[in-house]
Amino acid sequence: MTDVEETTATLPMARKCPFSPPPEYETLREKSPVSRVGLPSGQTAWALTRLEDIREMLSSPHFSSDRRNPSFPMLVARPVRPEDDSFRPSLIGMDPPEHSQARRDVVGEFTVKRMKALQPRIQQIVDDHIDALLAGPRPADLVQALSLPVPSLVICELLGVPYSDHDFFQACSSKMLSREVSPEERQTAFESLRNYLDELVTKKEADATEDDLLGRQILKQRETGEADHAELVSLAFLLLIAGHETTANMISLGTVTLLENPDQLAKIKADPGKTLAAIEELLRVFTIAETATSRFATADVEIGGTLIRAGEGVVGLSNAGNHDPDGFENPDTFDIERGARHHVAFGFGVHQCLGQNLARLELQIVFDTLFRRVPGLRIAVPVDELPFKHDSTIYGLHALPVTW
């Protein structure tokens, strides 16, 4: 057992190539796969870079996701949250058994079957946006024309949030995820979005229907006599943010990657049955939400031969894990046929992404429809001039100029 104490590096590390993880991850994995690192919050934590260590940590009951606890390793300063009963952590910020119950209350909304039932509506939304894209000027920004509005509309309809307010909540969410804004601005964005959803849930409580997820949760809570307004607000908050930023970025990054790899694109055009496999590979290659796999130890535990003590923070660098040669042969090669189902881009363990099958479905419909209907699609600027989100907690593209 080793017990390395010195801090070897600081997170976050920058990607040098927009399509690969920060090069330091490889060095860390080779030299010291469980390594002390400094965080922008001033905390120190352990960084894990091997796939197996990350999976082990995320499925161990001795690591906590409780973001209320000061031991939780933060990569950006956390918003100050109200201490009173009006605030509840969201699913990603709590542990079992509290988490198990809360997740179970809503997971039925996200089953594979429920997602399939949304398919015609998502297809219609995608078709409408591609109609508008084709009717509009060239070049067009694919982020504004497709990547952002599609998942945003889908999650709004599913939750029961008026899409007409999208400018407002998209602005809040991008401020909350940006590393460039001041802690005060982030705090304001957090509070305005929370107040907005608080009011929205209050309105729905007065007139709840079966038509949307929030309404259904309200009715369900009434039936069980466990009405919990604060819990619904934090659920709405999590689903709204997680539901559009992540998928939007994967649509943009995936489009660029497929256009840059015409041989792979040709495979999915010839056989749309391969699109899902391509999506798994895109998820693995980019791993855009890698700090969602941060935890802290609640007991002394050994991971990868290193003792992690109770109270110490751990950042599972899932993007490093997804490029671990022990988990994926030639990890830096984009190969839609590698069968990368065991990646950790959606996390692992009890917190694994609740909306993952919605994300898969949206990506599948978008890629199949976009490349079929706009066969001449190409990027309108050199790829190295694209504005990649090196400044955000969730990786992606700020804009994607395309033409056809």
């Binding site: 997740r103 179970r104 997971v107 039925g108 996200f110 594979v112 189902r341 363990g349 609740l354």
Partner: protein, 64 residues
Amino acid sequence: MKIIADTGKCVGAGQCVLTDPDLFDQSEDDGTVLVLNAEPEGEEAEENARTAVHICPGQALSLA
């Protein structure tokens, strides 16, 4: 080969259903796993069962 599911551990991520909808489904109420065929036969079905066990995030599935 026999598939054993521990619904207490299942987090409803549906990875098993995506792997093989002939072997797995999810309950309508709480999304937990339903094993449709606990005794897969044939190479492909057995391979799918092994994949499902490997990628199940809740470690709710095992083979006996």
